[in-house]
């Protein structure tokens, strides 16, 4: 018998180039905010799950360092890693621990400091979320190149144009400009995006997420405790998770990400939501737009649009507030930033605050269904997590 689990506190550091702090200091910015918001004492926490990919920062084995810095020595702790989906994997780990009865209150912190290494090193390292030896080291492909292969497929088969991809960047910069925690605070135009240099054709600099530092934290609690702490816990209604081949050459096709489709289908089934009418159940979605093409594929993989028609949503402005479903009101990975392991947890923080109506003016979604979705992908669909957050306690 699974226990129900809810978010009772959230914390989010400023994302960006954070040379002003070290890794535990950065983690603590969001930990403190989450603990204060939940109004719990540190003694109440019995599990600390640290999401961190590392490799580019000076603290290679960071869980215990962060634990001590936050005055949590003594708690059960460890590090979780699932490439760019690390944050969601950390959340799943804590949720499962609470659901099973092994823990009552858990802190999940996702933290990354990527700017301690040079860009080529970071780009090369992130390539390891694919099959590094056989596809990167020996043949010279890069991580943006992986997504570019999907982008060219969409251009040739579904009529997606480079201008369409830029529309995603324009939207996400628009909302990031209203998010004080976002890496980029500036709006951009399609023209600026089109003039930016190519990284891996057809993807340009402005199609790509930045290399960010940042942290995000949530406090999760069992039903019994969550309902005592707050009148408005954010329930984890369902988590779907899946994976795909490490060699991209072994993918059957380039129409979206198989792992994301599988994770979505599992999440919808668990939450008993109609996959054909999914946007009617949701108020907003935070999706994994590491490159602009990824957001268009996410629309389709999540069932917001039919295969090949995701591009229509952005052309018609359906993913702005007031449209079919607002997507990435935080600015997304593209403009809020993508501190790898913080990303999945940052999505949870954003959705919780959206559902609580606590977001800055201009980027607060109207909350009617009381439900939001996070789509967090690791690598190029190597890992995928789809998590449904709700104001309503799940049935069953």
């Amino acid at each position: 018998m699974r226990r129900k689990v809810a978010i009772v506190g959230t914390g989010h550091s400023i994302y960006g180039v954070r040379n002003d702090v070290n890794l535990p200091e950065l983690a603590y910015e969001s930990i403190k905010e989450a603990v204060d918001e939940a109004k719990i004492g540190l003694d109440d926490i019995d599990l600390v799950v640290v999401g961190n990919v590392g490799g580019w920062s000076s603290e290679y084995l960071p869980a215990i360092v962060i634990n001590e810095y936050a005055d949590l020595a003594g708690k059960s702790t460890f590090r979780i890693e699932a490439a760019c989906a690390t944050g969601s994997a950390a959340i799943k780990t804590a949720v499962d621990a609470i659901a099973s009865g092994e823990a009552d209150i858990a802190l999940v912190v996702g933290v990354e400091k990527m700017n301690e290494s040079l860009t080529p090193v970071v780009v090369e390292f992130i390539g390891r979320s694919g099959n590094y030896f056989w596809e990167f080291q020996n043949f010279g492909l890069t991580f943006p190149g992986y997504y570019a292969l999907y982008a060219t497929y969409y251009m040739f088969n579904y009529g997606v144009k480079e201008e369409d991809l830029c529309l995603i960047a324009v939207k996400n910069h628009h909302y990031a400009s209203m998010n004080p925690k976002a890496h980029f605070q500036r709006k951009i135009t399609v023209d600026e995006c089109m003039k930016s240099r190519y990284i891996a054709w057809p993807l340009k600099l402005y199609d790509s997420c930045p290399i960010s530092d940042g942290s995000a934290s949530i406090i999760l609690a069992s039903e019994e405790i969550a309902t005592k702490i707050t009148d408005t816990p954010i329930w984890i209604e369902a988590i779907g998770s899946a994976s795909d081949t490490s060699n991209i050459t072994r993918r059957k096709d380039f129409t979206g990400l198989y792992a994301a489709r599988k994770a979505a289908s599992e999440a919808y089934k668990k939450a008993r939501l109609d996959p054909g009418e999914i946007t009617r159940h949701l108020d907003l979605a935070e999706v994994h737009d590491c490159f602009t093409i990824a957001e268009i594929m996410a629309y389709e993989d999540l069932g917001f649009a039919k295969r090949g028609e995701g591009v229509k949503l952005i052309r018609e402005g359906q993913t702005y507030i007031g449209g079919l479903i607002p997507v990435n009101l935080s600015g997304g990975l593209k403009a809020k930033g993508h501190p790898i392991a913080a990303t999945g947890v940052g999505m949870a923080v954003e959705i919780a605050r959206q559902l609580w109506n606590k977001i800055e003016r201009g980027r607060q979604a109207p909350i009617k269904n009381g439900r939001g979705l996070a789509h967090n992908v690791g690598g190029t669909g190597h890992y995928a997590y789809v998590t449904i957050y709700s104001l309503t306690k799940p049935r069953g």
């Binding site: 290494s117 080529p120 090193v121 780009v123 090369e124 390292f125 390539g127 390891r128 056989w134 596809e135 990167f136 080291q137 020996n138 043949f139 010279g140 492909l141 890069t142 943006p144 190149g145 570019a148 292969l149 982008a151 060219t152 497929y153 040739f156 240099r197 190519y198 990284i199 891996a200 054709w201 057809p202 991209i248 050459t249 072994r250 380039f254």
Partner: protein, 137 residues
Amino acid sequence: MMFERSPAKIWRNRDVLYRLKYSYCRDCKRSFYPPRGRCIYCGSSNIEHRYSSGRGVVKEFTVVYQTPVGFTDMSPMVIGLIEMEEGFRLLAQIVDVKPEEISNGMKVEAVLRRMIVDGETGLIYYGIKFAPLIEKS
């Protein structure tokens, strides 16, 4: 920091990297690359190692402008997803052709080329790239 390219590692894989040695599963009759002792499809160990004809077609491609460390001199670099005659697929550079002249379905063949020069006095690494197929008359 991260590059683990070493002459010993390359040498051990020379047939795979330079001659496109692949695996053929005698049980499920499918091919895959890089080769290994167990079939990636059915798990069988009834595997035969074969050498590719080197001919294939381009299925997808991209042009990498921000190239990885060691490949910087080659920017912009065309990388294609190539389906070989034997049925397996791999990713490799496409050379001797302008990006705008490449199309999906184009026939290509393997050529041995210089991959990376490890600094001014360092080792030169070779590897397989693909060039447009020249049909022999």
